[in-house]
Symmetry: C2
Subunit: 149 residues, 2 copies
């Protein structure tokens, strides 16, 4: 493999698809299985450790920074800020800053953000709802593994 993948900016999908499917410049959809497709970055932000939680939290409505921090138990200021910036840069989160004496900033989902939010909420809900059976399966499996797979 070459080392110069650095130049593969956003035009990557086009190049990638052109190579694999012969499509022209007008790209219609991303391909997560393609190594250099920008969609991978978006997926990375959304599915980052805190991305899912932030999106689900914001589905509940506009929140302030410390509101989110309290709601998402265990997140640090650094990671919350970072995650919000990623999601904002992708156009999923809208940041509104009010120039008042004690700073006041509100975060909400854009229409686009609401759509991804709903997708990840589906996943989050499924996991929360099926946790008991997942834990049971985990126990069955490594009880089995312990005895020699």
């Amino acid at each position: 493999m070459q080392k110069n993948i650095k130049d593969a900016g956003h035009g990557a999908i086009a190049a990638e698809q052109e190579a694999s499917q012969g499509l022209a410049a007008k790209m219609l959809r991303g391909d997560l299985f393609a190594e250099k497709c920008p969609s991978r970055d978006v997926l990375k932000h959304v599915t980052s450790r805190w991305g899912v939680l932030v999106l689900v939290a914001l589905l509940g409505g506009t929140h302030r920074f410390s509101q989110l921090r309290r709601k998402i138990n265990g997140i640090s200021e650094r990671m919350l800020a970072q995650t919000l910036q990623w999601l904002e840069a992708d156009g999923f989160v809208l940041r509104k800053s009010y120039p008042v004496v004690p700073p006041h900033v509100e975060y909400s989902l854009t229409p686009s953000g609401t759509e991804v939010g709903l997708q990840v909420q589906g996943l989050a809900d499924w996991i929360e709802g099926n946790l008991p059976s997942i834990l049971a399966a985990q126990r069955r499996i490594d009880a089995n593994a312990a005895r020699g797979a």
Copy 2:
């Protein structure tokens, strides 16, 4: 913060919920907003860098190790093995090993795995389908930021 969070095993949800909602030992559902809830680990595996791709790939049917490796462009052997083990331990992936001369191993989704798979596929599809507009939004946003938000 204490350092001994190590002891917080799987009983964490019960303790967590008991503390916040007064529930008894019989846990009915996980809570991703709770710091020590095991559901966070499951989410971590599923949304890990390659977890989503592996699940979506397996929705397409049974695959062998190297089939997956070829399909999921850019994944290393190490990470594919690791990811498959996580998903297997959570009961999402079924590993069948045939004791033949050139080793032959097949991976498929369990019923439970198919369900999570469909959830993540929803997300994956949305991202792939909306990539163009996401990229456009990204450009608008940092063009704006460049000029001074």
